[in-house]
Symmetry: C2
Subunit: 154 residues, 2 copies
């Protein structure tokens, strides 16, 4: 069981857009480099995020991508579900209805609790917080370079 590469890429792209000053835009090429997403995947990821209403695509010479929402109101769970759809850890949770085997099987409640525990962590992680961490880390790396150190870039 693993998230798709697209979900992984989408989270990195959204964090990078949140690092930008409000109102600024990033081109596809910039995002591919910054978020370390292979260009052949990035187009699809940006398309999905745009369609889900998480980012806005601007055309033209001043075009590029920007977040559609304040990063404080976006969570990792929003990004993951935009790409993968609702998280359903096991098949018996897929319908949202009580499992037809609940008359003998107690596993349903455990799957449900495990899914809830996981999604809660993703929901608690706002993109704003992750962007703040990135800014601090990038700044620390920059200072480390100025100081002649290179530990942060290893």
């Amino acid at each position: 069981m693993q998230l798709t590469r697209s979900a992984d890429y989408a989270v990195r792209v959204v964090i990078h857009l949140a690092v930008l000053p409000p109102g600024s835009r990033a081109t596809r090429e910039t995002l591919a480099g910054l978020a370390e997403v292979p260009p052949e995947f990035l187009g699809k990821v940006l398309q999905v995020l745009t369609k889900a209403g998480l980012i806005i695509s601007h055309r033209g010479s001043q075009g590029g991508f920007e977040l559609a929402l304040p990063p404080a109101s976006l969570t990792m769970l929003d990004v993951v579900t935009a790409v993968e759809g609702p998280i359903r850890l096991n098949l018996c949770l897929a319908t949202g209805e009580p499992c037809k085997r609940s008359w003998w099987c107690g596993a349903h409640e455990v799957w449900k609790a495990a899914q809830q525990a996981m999604t809660q962590v993703l929901q608690d992680a706002t993109i704003e917080e992750l962007a703040k961490q990135s800014i601090a880390k990038l700044e620390a790396g920059r200072l480390s370079q100025i100081d002649g150190g290179d530990a942060a870039w290893n």
Copy 2:
């Protein structure tokens, strides 16, 4: 992101084996019926569980399957990882080493925490506890039938 059908089936099979009196065995046909696992999948699931050392396969006229370990020492996580391998929610957790993007990306720690929260729930769920629930539910269903009720079977 979803567990495979095999993991879902494996959990049901193991719960049913744990419901049996210690030392008794269930045939493949019995398990297919009780655990509601399609026969075309069951062979593979039983093979994987046997290879992982969770169940024992006995041949011959008195043959069948039984748990290799006391159900109190088996958890849902054991069964899931026997079938799916170690749970790695995101690619960046796959190696077990620090993510090479940790110098700018805070998502790694969130993925890790989400995975930990989920696996903890699965680890806390012993097969013994789930089997006890099944026995109680099956008993309640039987009594409900004797009383002329049918609520438990709906």
